[in-house]
């Protein structure tokens, strides 16, 4: 037997071992040391699908559903994955033109070629159903479910607010949001965004080479569920809100109705308004532009942002302050001296109560003089500075001159103006020692430099109704999954003025509606003791018609402030009857004065706003 070259078996063994070693080293580099393969593989075969929670629902105070959701679908695209697309078929199925297709693709590519972006927004359930048979042919495209807001009754648009796509600053401020997410942009949708939005979940789907989802990766072990948004249980009375909006339909102005004992806002109307359904879905952009360019500014919530001279309703507060300071007594009388300030014809007031009833301008001129010039200092300017500071402090306790902390976005709110010494000392106004009562007396009757916000006026009605205090007006009673009570909004804010003095205001306001010579007999409702105060706020156009009221006189259930812009006639002509309708509707459930109701519902007293050129 020849067995030459046996040593060559060693060479052969070494070759085998070397190749094995090369393979193992190569595997070590690919699998253990290089993480890039894993990233690329996950990118290719796994598709994270965000699970959007349903946004929280919004109810009224009686459990009526105001806002809920409807499913829609976003068509998503990952440009890198689009392969062998039958563009004609795609355009036909989706219903777009070739040009549109190209612009949308370009936009998607600009955002990212690897990450998904929205190709077409908010496709309805029906449309999506029609596509489903074709969708698998379109590599790189898939559909993601979203929800849209639906409003059965087109009411309370300003309060509810609207939802829109996040912008860059939203994305920068909160990492929760991703491009294309929705966020509350105004109203309760904005102020309760964190309650309503819920928590997004994520499903990691395994997709195959044909772009079909073949299941949850690792049978869903890495998936997270979306947590539904929390609901809001508001203080609104949907029926009252709808009724009040109906009355204001062809007018400009606003109504705020509050339950005095709790500060719960029953209705908040700003006219003209809009149907909240207009700002939902794909039509939103177009409607938004239209509403935004309307000269009547239907998207503004006048109840919060409108700053008006209060007019005569301010006299109620003035009287309370003067009484508390002791500069007048309940029985103080002043002659109606029209040389001081203009007035209508009426007998001189012999008491505070009569003065409120008759809304005597010279009377409150005198009252305000006694508040401002208390004689504490010989120097008249210094004395006025002292008096104004005291008055200003009182006014803040009435909730004026500041944004009331209602649970709506602060941005959509005004504070109104209660001038203080700094205001007048400013060189651009009068300057230091250049003003005294004689320069600022217009404030006495709610004109001059004083402005208020309608919500503050309704709050004033609450303060009188409560005989001296208010609860922060608010719109949400309970929220979230556990129906947490909105405790911070039920705190009492005292004016520090004796209830006895407020009793005088209550009687005065009762007489306004019920007494001989009262200015608001049109607010009289059979069998309901309404208390109110009219105002006529002068401004550049026709006067605003103003009325604040509450009812019943004892244990008031509702306080209402009504503003009708540029309506010819005083507070008694338009605002008072409208307030009475709201009060009757709320207390009685229905309005018995049908003809009266029809008359004011159909009236359109507001002077047209001239279009700005």
């Amino acid at each position: 037997m020849r067995n030459q070259y046996q040593e060559r078996s060693t060479v052969i063994r070494i070759i085998f071992l070397t190749v094995g070693l090369i393979f193992i080293v190569r595997l070590a580099f690919m699998q253990v040391f290089d993480g890039e393969y894993r990233r690329l593989a996950d990118n290719q075969a796994l598709r994270p699908i965000t699970q959007y929670p349903g946004r929280g629902l919004i109810y009224d105070r009686n459990g009526e559903l105001l806002v809920y959701n409807e499913a829609v679908y976003d068509l998503m695209v990952i440009p890198k994955m689009v392969k062998n697309l039958d563009t004609n078929l795609f355009c036909n199925v989706v219903g777009i033109t070739r040009d549109e297709f190209l612009t949308r693709m370009k936009k998607a590519k600009k955002y990212s070629t690897y990450a998904a972006s929205i190709f077409m927004k908010q496709v309805s359930k029906e449309e999506y159903g029609a596509w489903q048979n074709h969708l698998y042919k379109f590599h790189g495209f898939y559909v993601q479910q979203r929800t849209l807001r639906v409003y059965d009754k087109p009411i309370a648009a300003h309060v509810l607010g609207y939802v829109g796509e996040v912008n860059q600053s939203d994305l920068d401020n909160d990492k929760y949001y991703k491009q294309g997410d929705y966020i509350g942009k105004s109203g309760l949708e904005k102020s309760y965004e964190e309650v309503l939005r819920g928590i997004k979940g994520k499903h990691i789907m395994h997709v195959d080479v044909h772009n079909r989802e073949i299941g949850h990766y690792m049978n869903g072990a890495l998936d997270t569920m979306a947590i539904e948004g929390g609901n809001l249980y508001t203080t609104l009375d949907a029926e009252l809100q709808e009724y009040a909006e109906g009355i204001m339909a062809n007018k400009r102005g606003c109504i705020v109705a509050i339950e005095p004992a709790t500060g719960e806002v029953l209705a908040m109307v700003s006219a003209p308004g809009y149907d909240p359904n207009l700002l939902v879905g794909r039509v939103r952009g177009k409607n938004y532009l239209k509403l935004d360019s309307d000269e009547n500014k239907p998207m503004l919530n006048r109840a919060l942002i409108g700053q008006y001279p209060p007019g005569s309703i301010f006299k109620v507060a003035q009287a309370m302050i003067a009484l508390d300071l002791g500069v007048i007594t309940p029985q103080t009388g002043f002659v109606c001296d029209k040389s001081l300030v203009g007035c209508h014809n009426h007998p001189s007031a012999r008491s505070v109560q009569e003065a409120i009833k008759m809304s005597c301008n010279p009377y409150f001129y005198q009252v305000y003089r006694r508040i401002i010039q208390q004689g504490k200092y010989k120097n008249i300017y210094k004395d006025a500075q002292y008096g104004l500071t005291v008055w200003h402090d009182y006014m803040l306790r009435f909730g004026f001159g500041q944004k009331l902390p209602i649970d709506l976005p602060r941005g959509g709110m005004s504070s109104g103006n209660i001038p203080d010494t700094a205001f007048y000392n400013n060189k651009r106004w009068y300057g230091r020692d250049k003003w005294a009562f004689s320069t600022i007396y217009s404030n006495s009757i709610g004109q001059g430099e004083v402005t208020v916000v309608p919500l503050q006026m309704a709050n004033l009605a609450c303060i009188v109704a409560n005989r001296g205090y208010y609860i922060t007006p608010h719109l949400v009673r309970y929220f979230g999954p556990d129906s947490t009570k909105n405790e911070e909004y039920y705190e009492k804010h005292e004016t520090g003025i004796k209830p006895a003095y407020f009793e005088i205001a209550v009687n005065g306001m009762y007489d306004v509606v019920h007494g001989a010579g009262g200015t608001a007999h049109k607010a009289n409702i059979p069998d309901i003791d309404v208390c109110g105060k009219t105002g006529t706020a002068q401004n550049s156009g026709d006067d605003h018609s103003v009325f604040i009221s509450f009812a019943p006189k004892n244990n008031p259930k509702i306080a209402v402030a009504v503003y009708v812009e540029n309506a010819r006639g005083g507070g008694g002509t338009w605002a008072a009857p409208i307030a009475s309708l709201v009060i009757e509707k709320y207390i009685r459930g229905e309005v018995t004065r049908k003809d009266f109701e029809r008359m004011y519902r159909e009236a359109a007293p507001c002077q047209k706003i001239k279009k700005k050129k």
Partner: protein
């Protein structure tokens, strides 16, 4: 005297076979057809092939081992006949004509040509008093190898033809000049360098090596005969000519898809071709394997292989499933199993008393080695794409049965080695 069959080899064979079947099961897994014996699925069919292979293996262990050498030429020519028949009646798929279709049955003669050639070559090389140095001997030996390889090339199955290069291994063991191996290695290295670098640099390197060789000859060995200088100069000129002819060979001899595969491998192809074009398979294969990590994604949890991203993943690219689902640990164990099998075969071959058996044993090791080298090298992106199966692992009846026959004929001879002298 009959000894026991070599259980180490049988055990390695069984381990690889079972692991292979598990990976085929994973590669074509879908929940609707999860049953193991579902013969409408690939894993079900593979189960059937495994059964058939075991029966064949059993039969081989029962027959008289003398038959293999006495019928070697008969088997060889029978298979050659089948190969030629395939050329005429074969089914053409993917540009190749390597399958004979009988009903729903497909049969690949080229798989069986491997062991048939091994038998015939072993038979010839063990002829008594054969003089290896004679030109005639060399011509006949190479004819035995190249005849079937040539027909297979005509079937457009270059990969299978390449396998016949594995006979260099037993030939080397039996005394073939090592120069051929060295020349072959140099040719491959120069080919790659010529494609990757500027020609002038390649020649500079060769020239540098030539100068070192001359210096070595001159200073140390003190061999200052003309003959040596002529040799070095001639080699330098031949290498230079070869380098310049590489482009021509690359353009004219190789087919476009082969050129692209080499470009992809050398990183010369553009991104598109490397990822979605010709390089798609290898790119996906590397993704699957690379993403497996240290311990893999787990059985049936591969994201790439389970989602059909890798074409041919049950056959030529089956290693992807191992890499992805079993990770570095599983892949390394499989490679170690193969290396252990090869080393075991060398050991068995060396203990043979008959030259026929030893030569055949090395042929088996060589054939298995070249399959493993090319297949795993391909899926790891180290070698160009050449479609040949991973032995005992890839899906396919013909290849599994042919490899089983190949291996067990040797095991049977080993078992009876004392009777075969």
């Amino acid at each position: 005297m009959q000894t026991k069959i070599d259980w180490v080899t049988v055990l390695l064979y069984a381990v690889i076979l079972i692991f292979g079947w598990l990976n085929i099961y994973a590669a074509c897994y879908d929940e609707a057809h999860a049953a193991v014996f579902d013969f409408s699925t690939l894993h079900g069919k593979e189960m059937m092939w495994i059964g058939a292979s075991l029966v064949i293996a059993l039969i081989i262990t029962l027959i008289d081992p003398h038959i293999f050498s006495s019928t070697a030429y008969l088997i060889y020519f029978a298979v050659i006949g089948l190969l030629i028949l395939t050329l005429f009646i074969g089914d053409t798929t993917n540009g190749g004509t390597s399958w004979i279709k009988i009903g729903s049955f497909k049969f690949q003669a080229s798989e069986f040509a491997k062991f048939a050639t091994a038998l015939a070559l072993a038979k010839y090389m063990s002829t008594l008093d054969l003089d290896y140095k004679q030109i005639r001997t060399k011509i006949i030996a190479w004819a035995i190898i190249l005849f079937p390889a040539g027909i297979i090339i005509l079937q457009h199955d270059t990969g299978s033809a390449l396998v016949f290069a594995s006979f260099l291994l037993p030939l080397y063991r039996e005394g073939m000049s090592a120069k051929i191996l060295v020349i072959g290695l140099v040719a491959v290295v120069l080919f790659v360098l010529a494609l990757l670098m500027e020609k002038i640099w390649v020649i500079a390197i060769i020239g540098g090596l030539a100068l070192i060789a001359l210096f070595y000859l001159f200073v140390w060995l003190n061999k200052r005969t003309m003959k040596h200088y002529i040799w070095v100069t001639a080699l330098f000129l031949i290498c230079t000519a070869y380098v310049f002819s590489v482009d021509l060979a690359f353009e004219k001899v190789l087919q476009p898809h082969q050129r692209e595969r080499i470009d992809v491998l050398l990183g010369k192809a553009d991104k598109e071709t490397s990822k979605t074009g010709t390089g798609y398979n290898v790119y996906q294969s590397k993704l699957a394997i690379g993403s497996g990590g240290l311990i893999g994604k787990g059985f049936l949890n591969g994201t790439i292989t389970k989602a059909d991203f890798v074409p041919e993943q049950e056959t030529d690219f089956i290693f992807c499933t191992v890499g992805e689902e079993w990770g570095f640990v599983g892949s390394t164990l499989l490679i170690l199993a193969y290396i252990a099998l090869l080393l075991r075969l060398v050991r068995l071959a060396e203990r043979q008393y008959s030259k026929f058996s030893r030569f055949y044993g090395y042929s088996v090791a060589g054939i298995l080695f070249i399959h493993i080298l090319i297949n795993i090298g391909m899926v790891l992106g180290l070698l160009p794409v050449i479609g040949i199966p991973l032995p005992f692992f890839s899906y396919g009846g013909s290849s599994l049965m042919a490899f089983t026959i190949l291996l067990f004929i040797f095991l049977r001879q080993d078992q009876e080695r004392t009777n075969l002298i």
